[in-house]
Symmetry: C2
Subunit: 426 residues, 2 copies
């Protein structure tokens, strides 16, 4: 296909007419498709519907370790569920706590208790003039929303296929004691789909922060979410940090939201003994214990990490064609045009799309008008502001494959049209 | 029986010998009984075990209102669960949010967001020099632990059978803008078992606090927890507050922890529109939604408030003999001795016992030595300090009726012995 850059103004004008006509047609179809959030599809939820059968009234409600899963207590979660989640993260069971149905509230709570109580004995952040976080971007909008809500200043760090720019991270973290944390989705990142290289993980593990209470928020949300038999390998940060004499530097999180049922999974955190004790200190006041029935249900259903791996193969089989439909469409329709680039993830829930600078908002608006909802342009950057107005997060999981193909067609059409409009502006 | 007060020193000395001998015998039995926490018994949990069967893989996972209970979203909880919990509290469904498995974390979160963000636009409490809470006592230790943890100064307010001393509450709340809240368990209170009178509720509803951000923390934990067919009636504070032009003054909480399964219930909050919007504002950042599978499970199981009422009759049938065993033993063994008083609740989970001043710690220690664990003496007061060292919380729910009878025997023996020891000290 002919690169847009090589086109004359007349060629662009005639292309614009053509695209506009196609766009009018597309709007006429009256579609209503959603590629906005990383929501599992109905088919994926159906896949795990039988988890509701394993813990019924005929099952002994007491675990092997002697806990009645129906009663109060066992704040850290039942041992069997802690083992399951520890294995998802590759963390030691004694350093793993299992919470409620999602990992986002665990992260929110960690920030919240840092604000009010301080981290492991440090000054409460609410008593400080300035607290800053590093935000590798494009990144996860809900992470950024948490730090924004708590009035924490966010500093954007660029991301490559290897992970965040570690030279910049190191310089900032090691010089500025106001920097208290960094948000990371280290495997199949949201939205890039990329996995941090071993060098990146080791660079994180060996940081020497200016602030004692600096922590890496390691959201390992897609730890086992491969799309292909051969998945990316992520180095285990907990053991790397320990090796580097730096074991308190990281909080790791994961959940089964995209393994079992999105709204009713179980979530966990792993960290050093000192960090876990700090969390437990205020947890003791906050809760008598999370839902152990659902924890045990997950144990009965998956049994162990192999049960989870088997389930992830089912998810992969379902998700792969959707990702491929999108990527094929991008390649076919946009390849060689030199107007956009995109990631080709081997796992996770997202594709990160970089359009021509200054067109992302227009693309998202055009898609919406044609019935295709995308994550808001800018959402992948701190404060919702993409300085280049270029990045768009694509979430292929929720629509059916047919809907996905339709949505991708509309999307590439809008990309082309917005790009031509932009080029003619100049 | 002869009042201890009327005894001569010699009589007391001889009684002491007798009691000491009985105590040695009691210790010899090697008992291990727990009356410390308001935990449902195994039999009570068995009663609701079939809740695990109603939501299975054959059930349509989408609610009548069109929500797929398995997926993300629906932050306020599914409509059907909101209706169920609204009916437990007697609150409007549009003012009710359903959360996770327990109400304690909802209260903790409300305090936490008041600290960091302020209440409905007021100054964040962490920016104030002093924040105070009123603590009707004897009261619920876990309430007091929350305010203590956040560094909030706690002021003890005496409690009668009608509720807190409202003259004192009114004077303090209406004069001191540092007072931001009061903890209440208005029905079958923890530990008194008493229910606030209509006058008390109306006095609360018509308070004119010096602080705009003062709130009543109305923990309606035992809203439907009658022990007898005819239960106590609690006036609805939300509508009374509204009538008084004071609708923002109260946060109401409840849960099914002692209706369905203690560790895996659902919990709710009701409040004015302004208060609910304030909660939702930070909830949107904190969570994508609570476990709707468990919410729907409760809806399928109970159907409506009548289903809950029927279940509460089963609980009452089971709990009543335990309460009566304790109360009968107290009456039989301590009646007329003029050394103690206790409440005779018609619902809830506790009996409040007032021993002779300066003996509670000794009684609890003696019981422990004889194998009967009680809530720590002082726990029912702010900072765990009962100024009179007199109040002990009795929780009859967890042991079997036989164990309960044994435990009560030990308890009254320790009360007698500690009292005689105290009298001989003087």
């Amino acid at each position: 296909m002919k690169s847009y850059k090589s086109m004359t103004k007349d060629e662009l004008l005639s292309l614009k007419k053509e695209l506009e006509a196609a766009y009018v047609d597309a709007k006429g179809k009256g579609l209503s498709l959603n590629m906005a959030r990383g929501k599992p599809s109905k088919a994926q939820l159906d896949m795990t519907m039988d988890i509701l059968d394993v813990y019924n009234s005929k099952v002994t409600p007491v675990t092997e370790s002697g806990v009645d899963t129906r009663n109060y207590g066992e704040m850290e979660g039942i041992l069997e569920a802690r083992q399951l989640m520890a294995d998802v993260m590759g963390a030691p069971v004694e350093n793993t706590i299992v919470f409620g149905n999602a990992s986002l509230p665990i992260m929110y709570d960690n920030i919240s208790r840092s604000m009010v109580f301080g981290v492991c004995g440090s000054t409460p952040w609410c008593k400080l003039d300035k607290v800053k976080f590093l935000c590798p971007a494009p990144g996860y909008d809900r992470h950024f929303k948490i730090t924004e809500t708590f009035g924490i200043e966010m500093i954007t760090v660029p991301v490559t296929a290897e992970g965040p720019d570690m030279k910049m991270v190191k310089e900032l973290v090691e010089s500025d004691p106001a920097i208290k944390g960094i948000w990371c989705v280290p495997k199949y990142g949201n939205p890039t789909g990329c996995t941090y290289s071993d060098d990146t993980v080791r660079a994180f593990a060996s940081l020497k922060p200016a602030a004692d209470d600096f922590r890496i928020y390691w959201d390992n949300a897609y730890a086992v979410h491969d799309l292909y038999d051969e998945g990316d390998e992520l180095l285990d940060i907990l053991s790397e940090a320990k090796k580097a004499g730096n074991e308190d530097i990281v909080f790791e999180y994961c959940s089964t939201s995209k393994i079992s049922l999105a709204g009713a999974g179980i979530a966990a955190m792993a960290a050093s003994e000192a960090n876990i004790n700090w969390v437990k200190k205020s947890m003791t006041v906050q809760t008598i214990g999370y839902d152990k029935i659902n924890q045990y249900r997950h144990v009965l259903y998956f049994k162990d990490i192999n049960g989870i791996k088997a389930k992830m193969k089912e998810h992969a089989k379902h998700l792969r064609p959707k990702f491929e439909a999108v990527l094929d469409c991008f390649e076919k329709e946009l390849g060689g045009l030199e107007i956009a680039s995109w990631t080709k993830p081997r796992g996770g829930y997202f594709i990160s799309f970089d359009a021509m600078e200054g067109t992302a908002k227009n693309i998202v608006a055009k898609c919406k008008e044609a019935g295709v909802t995308l994550t808001g342009a800018g959402a992948t950057y701190p404060y919702g502001k993409d300085p280049k107005d270029s990045n768009i997060r694509i979430a292929p999981s929720f629509p059916t494959p047919e809907e996905m193909a339709q949505a991708a067609e509309i999307f590439v059409l809008c990309v082309k049209l917005a790009t031509v409009e932009k080029m003619l502006e100049a």
